[in-house]
Symmetry: D3
Subunit: 219 residues, 6 copies
């Protein structure tokens, strides 16, 4: 099956990193195609960036020929998610919905670590809207450098994520931002909480919906 | 991977039917093992039956050697679900949690069709507890014959399911009971709503959690 | 004060009609400026249209020089609302938030009439997200002709709105769509419910925030 | 238009202070009439005081001749609010409903500072009931001296309010008590959060409802 | 123990009827004292009547010497309930809180029958505020004659209550108004639902709190 | 009346201690019969233990001849509670539902102290499901020794409970575990909060339902 990994932001480096994570979990028969929202913002870390990303994302994904078998929207937020779902009959999965559904299946209480303090309220609202607030212990932030500065080495950022997550008292942590996803493997080695990396969740959820033949019907 | 399909009720016929559905969607490398809760009730259609099922279910699943790679609990309810999750570190997935998570990913509003009028309140409470009540248009029931009477032919029951589901105004229907799952294919042919069959959802969700290496950590 | 009435859709006729409603209630010192999102969709009646509207809306409003004293977003939905709020420090008010706040101040239970059946779930979700679900009796739809066909005469559509709203049992009805706003006056004459026309609510709320000097601070 | 500023407590000094705030924001054509609930308690800072205030408040406001064009209830609580609304067809606005609606229009997360520790649970319940709990970061208290002791100078109380509000992590603070309202101007100068003063919100909301002709219909 | 049955309305006939119901269930050692809120309204069937009842109710109950061992507020609503609770350290129980707690202990879904159509929204709000909305199937009304007209004979009103309650699909019905309480016995004979009569619930709950020595501590 | 105090765990010492508490509050005419779920786990402090307890609990209670007039389930959790309710028409009361209903009748905010850190999420979920989350200030834990080690002396554990409960800021504390119930009397002497001991609540609630003749009807 053809699964399009669509990065809603314009940074190819992030697309590449997410696609690597996607390929590492995808089924043998799944071809991961990469797509970067070059007309979008370099990073999606605000409502403003959501709006800047949505139109070209929806338009491009709605115009794909042939239509892929499923789409993963590789951002942890809401940047036109339901619009893409509405446009395509094939399964469209965003990181947050997959990560939250997977998390509650294996935890008592989850925490989310996001990428900047100002995304805390944003992320709490997202969790509330998806119905998972009673299971959320806390949303916390680490501060990543600006996107143009590149990604910090794991040994710099992972201890901070580990510390922040452990302090919440949750038994599971979700990495709430596509820039954090590549640190999942290193984090697993340094923390006693279950670590949920959303790209892997979304890819496998999209594959599953294709395999079982569930598609959207227009209301 | 070894996936145990555990039927919380004692009726082998239901186990068999669910295992067939499981095998039809499972990955080539997934071996579906069947397990029937012979010490449980013939059918789980009440809180009482939940209680009658839970102990032997949890005890048997907790004592499996070797431990399977994941477990699907093939009942649409709550018959010791969190106890099995607590007992095993491997992914344990119940039908309802998987079906609801898959449903909201591809619908605006879902309906659930359950197997008897007295399961309506039960099922509404389940949806509320899992956080999906705002997306639920209605829970409705068809009446199946007693379990000992066997399963009605599709052309008898499917039109009723179709009618009941369509009348809700939802764009997706979940078959809320393992006895209803085998009718999914026939129902798809006679209804314009998306049809969600929970066994397929749970099997693929369990496989996914194994593939991405997410396991429960004890709090 | 300068209040920008920003129509998120591309149809000047709608902008014009809303601006007329705005001017009819605005304070003497309020200058209503019109802006139409010409790069947006002709009509916003889907998540897809939300996404198509948001980017140019946010970009244009964020680039205004000089910045107006406040902005009214003249669509009954969520087409980048929080992004515009985030971009500008001046008050930015969308129709739904104003109409709902005004409604609950003067009613026991409100109903919303929207412009097509497929906007019912969308509108229910909006009400839930804004916190007003317990006061909402029902969301109902009338069917307007396609935007290109123009607006139906009042004596054709108003009786339908009246009938649909009255049947809900609510004591107040909100016109949930900018195309419906111009019918408010005629509807008031033919219904015993309180009629809330959202453009008037949003304009006066925006003026009020300016008058009392409340502006957004960045977190 | 004639707007009655009705102080539910019996302290003329508070009425006066609130009326000053009201006049400072009212429209040129709005005549602010003052009314003090002399048969009420000196201060409303408990459920008991709510009950002591309500009857004479409702009776007096229901008997006004001529009926004013709108009424602002100048207390931050629930001292017969819905009864006054039920009694009069003209808009009746209480401080909390206006302040909360205005706050969420311009903030991510609000905090409320109230006037004594025992009003914290009271105020949380009020926020919950009005539907705004998910946007509330915290309710905190400063301790004012007894009402008979007069009001503390701004340079004594404002730094405490500022400190308490800032510590919540909210981006907006609501002054949750009519005795706190007069400190709004001083507070704005010493805090980076948006400051919402409820009397100004309620007065402008009441004026707006009158201007747009929205009145209550009896169910 | 001395239990004060306090009727928040001014109609002695209602007090008498409720006191009879109270005595029929009270413990041998419980002395039921009657108190009628003569300074209150003849009937409490609106927010306005709540406000009219509260002050004298709270003042009188707060001034009782000696203080009774517990108080039952014999109205199905919120007419200063929390104020009386705040005033007295002894247990104070209102009809609705007792009836709802008792109902959910023995039902799947309850319905409430109230005494006039305009009390439906009021009662729904009460149920929501007390946390029982997910278990409530419906609030419905019968129409009683004006209080001055006396009470209708059972064979006139009971069939209507039975019909209205049965149609909801609930398995339990709460009589949501003190004027309805005397019909409980007759209703039990003509309906298959469990019938909950709130005076009996509140009296026994108040007695229980006294017996186990639980009193309010001031915060 | 005959009230069966059913201990869902297998430890006679706990049954005995709860029966003593029950007898201390029961009415003269109430005969407290003890029953220990010998086929259950020694202690119920996990979902697993819930499942281990439920079947024999439900089976034994459903087979009682003659049926007692009511049943109190003496565990603070959900170990087949609704199943026992469904099985018997007589009132069946679990500790948590009674304690929470009694608590909110006399407090502003309650706290729960439970018996181990891992029961915190469990107990929060229970409170949420029963509808009382908005009134809950916090769930906290003390750590009791293993059940086999016996119960610690009051002067060892009571100061810890007192400290933990007081730090929450609640005005009432519920002892959330049957092993904690016997410390209620000592705790009352050393804390300014109201102390709610659940066995006493459940016994009196069960008695009350019997006295007023409210029984479950099958749906």
């Amino acid at each position: 099956m053809r699964l399009l990994l669509a990065n809603p932001n314009a940074t190819e480096r992030v697309t590449k990193a997410c696609a690597d994570l996607a390929r590492a979990v995808a089924l043998p028969g799944t071809e991961i195609e990469e797509w970067t929202n070059r007309a979008g913002p370099a990073l999606i870390d605000s409502y403003n960036a959501d709006a800047a990303a949505a139109r070209s994302l929806v338009a491009a994904l709605g115009a794909l020929t042939p239509v892929p078998d499923s789409v993963v929207l590789a951002g942890f937020g809401d940047y036109g998610t339901r619009a893409v779902k509405e446009t395509l009959a094939v399964p469209v999965i965003a990181l947050a919905e997959a990560a939250l559904a997977y998390a509650v299946a294996v935890c008592d209480r989850f925490a989310i670590v996001t990428t900047s303090a100002r995304m805390i309220a944003y992320t709490e609202d997202l969790v509330e809207r998806l119905g998972f607030a009673p299971r959320c212990r806390a949303v916390r932030a680490v501060e990543l450098p600006p996107i143009a500065a590149g990604e910090p080495p794991a040994d710099e950022i992972v201890p901070t994520i580990a510390e922040v997550a452990t302090a919440t008292g949750a038994d599971l942590v979700i990495l709430g931002g596509s820039r954090l996803s590549p640190y999942a493997a290193a984090l697993r080695g340094s923390i006693s909480l279950t670590v949920v990396e959303p790209v892997a969740c979304a890819v496998t959820l999209a594959e599953s919906l294709v395999r079982i033949g569930v598609r959207r019907r227009r209301a």
